[in-house]
């Protein structure tokens, strides 16, 4: 969804593709279909392979997971559905802090991504001139190396006694972060700071690309009009640029927050057992402990909480059409 936006917007994009724009081109196509009846079974045949694939391997698994989450039993005797809803309360009781931590880290990482990503997206969209394409390539360039390898590189960058840690320490930044409870002593690795830093790093391009594609679409004559009406640059940004970039902000925050809250790689590689997120717990229950009902219950809670948060957020932000 993200990397696609800038590519597809390079074509003759309809400028009027505002919310609800999906219906209008449709109508145009149907009406101007050269008298051809664009109805019948054709769309269903076209949708069949993808729809079936998603129905069997995406929707059906969710039902299997729902049923597994209320099963009881053991690995040896097998699991049976006994409507054991205590799986849910047990999971929340045991792993409640994991949930809080996941959403907390994800929220901080999303805020940092917005803070860091907005200036970069703005720079590429407005100030880059002929360097624009090169800068866009540099934003997606990190993806060319497997993200696990890149996350491991943070172990080197943040290593104890390394350059980053000594600079942060000599600037007394580590004192502040350890007072905030983000780090402990003279180290960054195996602390919440390292995990949030890794999450921010890993999902930053997912924030930048949608921000860029909505900033790039802004009609510059609006900015000139604001200047002509004696708006200060800050006012222009607050009243014109930022509101017009809101679709990008919404898409970017969702694309950062959702994967970050389910992530367990950064917590595993850069954190200590004290930074484990809910993803770590699900992974451990499913792949090591083989307690499938607990894993299913946790995964279901995670999904439900995210869907609730996303729908509330999207209603507040007032943008329906994101895809």
């Amino acid at each position: 969804m993200t990397a696609v936006a800038p590519l597809s917007s390079s074509g003759p994009a309809p400028s009027g593709a505002a919310p609800g724009g999906e219906q209008d081109p449709d109508a145009a196509v149907t009406d101007s279909g050269g008298g051809r009846a664009r109805r019948g079974l054709t769309p269903y045949w076209l949708l069949l392979p993808a729809g079936l694939w998603l129905a069997v391997f995406f929707v059906a698994p969710l039902f299997y997971q729902a049923s597994t989450s209320v099963q009881s039993g053991s690995l040896e005797e097998g699991f049976r559905v006994t409507w054991q809803f205590s799986n849910y309360t047990d999971a929340l009781g045991t792993y409640g802090t994991h949930f809080v931590r996941s959403f907390g880290y994800a929220a901080v990482a999303t805020a940092l991504c917005l803070l860091i990503g907005y200036p970069l997206a703005y720079m590429i969209a407005v100030r880059a001139g002929r360097w624009r394409n090169l800068l866009l390539v540099l934003v997606i360039a990190p993806f060319f190396t497997s993200f696990l390898i890149r996350t491991l590189a943070w172990k080197t960058i943040l290593s104890d006694g390394g350059p980053v840690v000594s600079v942060l320490s000599s600037l007394h930044i580590l004192d502040v972060t350890s007072w905030l409870g983000l780090t402990g002593g003279e180290r960054v690795l195996a602390t919440p700071l390292a995990v949030v830093c890794g999450l921010t790093y890993n999902f930053l391009p997912f924030m930048i690309l949608p921000l860029y594609s909505s900033l790039e679409r802004i009609d510059t004559s609006l900015l000139e009009a604001a200047r002509d009406l004696y708006a200060k640059p800050a006012t222009t940004f607050r009243k014109v640029t930022f509101p017009l970039s809101l679709p990008g902000v919404v898409a970017g925050t969702l694309l950062t927050f959702i994967p970050a809250s389910g992530d367990y790689i950064n917590a595993q590689l850069l954190g200590s057992p004290n930074e484990q997120m809910v993803g770590n717990a699900i992974q451990k229950q499913f792949l090591n402990v083989l307690d499938y009902p607990t894993a299913a219950a946790m995964s279901f809670i995670l999904m439900a909480l995210i869907l609730i948060m996303v729908s509330v957020y999207m209603r507040k932000a007032g943008t329906e059409e994101l895809v």
Binding site: P12, P14, A50, F57, M123, N133, S146, I149, A295
Partner: protein, 283 residues
């Protein structure tokens, strides 16, 4: 468009008074923060590249010791690593082919037709992208466990096609909806048959979207770890899974070699393509 903004911004501030360091800093703060963000994004890649020339003391390649090209001259010197790379490539190619074909069909249906159940279908396509990977991986794994399907190559492939489909649909749909329907009408007016119209007009017009979807699928599939971990068998270790295992036991320098080689190669291809496109535009 951007150049006009640039020019007018410069003249606007020039009218406001002489340049002072503070004013310069204020005017270029965006660029400075932007460059810092870019550095934040790219430093890990450079570290990976640098440490591919390291000769670490122990099993972990986290601290610099001495320069060496050993790993570059013997990239497959680690047991199982190049095998896992081959497996990842195989799965990525197959998943890309299937997801691109099926996703393109679906995108045409959604972009060109009105039918009952369209909004449900749109939601079905959107949901996998709004779902954390752990949830998708764990639930698909639950399905395979319950139906006693053997975990292995096929289950990984199924999982990868599943999460790539939505991205292909979105990429192709955006392109198809931005295409001018009059071009196809013109083809029909000139007595092109439906097949000819599709093959000579519609498909070439949609090709950039299809290519974008395919590239995205390949990248997503090749680099996927979370969903794969829940749906892989003991003998099907993809490259990301190999790296994950290595992170627990000891990371060989060859991992950095593969990471750096892919980075340099892909960057060269993309930048070369851009240069060629620029030259074509000029001439």
């Amino acid at each position: 468009m951007s150049t006009t903004v640039h020019a007018s911004a410069r003249s606007g501030s020039g009218a406001r008074g002489p340049a002072s360091p503070v004013r310069w800093l204020r005017r270029n703060a965006v660029v400075l923060v932007g460059c810092a963000a870019l550095a934040y994004l790219l430093v890990p890649n450079l570290v990976v590249l640098l440490f591919s020339f390291n000769k670490p003391a122990g099993r972990f390649n986290y601290a610099w010791r001495t320069f060496s090209t050993d790993a570059w001259t013997d990239p497959c010197g680690v047991a199982d690593m190049c095998g896992s790379l081959g497996l990842s490539l195989q799965i990525a190619v197959l998943a890309t082919l299937i997801a691109t074909a099926f996703g393109t069909f679906a995108a045409f249906a959604l972009a060109r037709y009105r039918f009952r159940g369209k909004s449900t279908t749109n939601a079905l396509i959107f949901l996998p992208m709004a779902m954390p990977e752990v949830v998708m991986g764990a639930s698909l794994g639950t399905l395979f466990l319950n139906t006693r399907v053997q975990f292995g190559f096929v289950t990984i492939l199924i999982a990868h096609v599943m999460f790539c489909l939505s991205f292909v649909v979105v990429a192709v749909k955006a392109r198809v909806m931005s295409m001018d329907p009059r071009l196809e009408e013109a083809a029909r007016d000139l007595y092109a048959g439906p097949f000819q119209t599709f093959w000579r007009v519609t498909l070439p017009l949609a090709a950039p979207g299809i290519a974008a979807g395919a590239m995205l699928s390949f990248a997503l599939s090749f680099d996927d770890f979370i969903i794969t971990q829940f749906n892989a068998g003991p003998s099907t270790v993809t490259f990301p899974m190999f790296v994950w295992g290595a992170a627990q036991r000891g990371v060989p320098v060859q991992v950095n070699v593969i990471g750096s080689a892919m980075f340099v190669l892909a960057l060269a291809i993309v930048l070369g393509g851009q240069l060629a496109a620029n030259r074509r535009k000029k001439s």
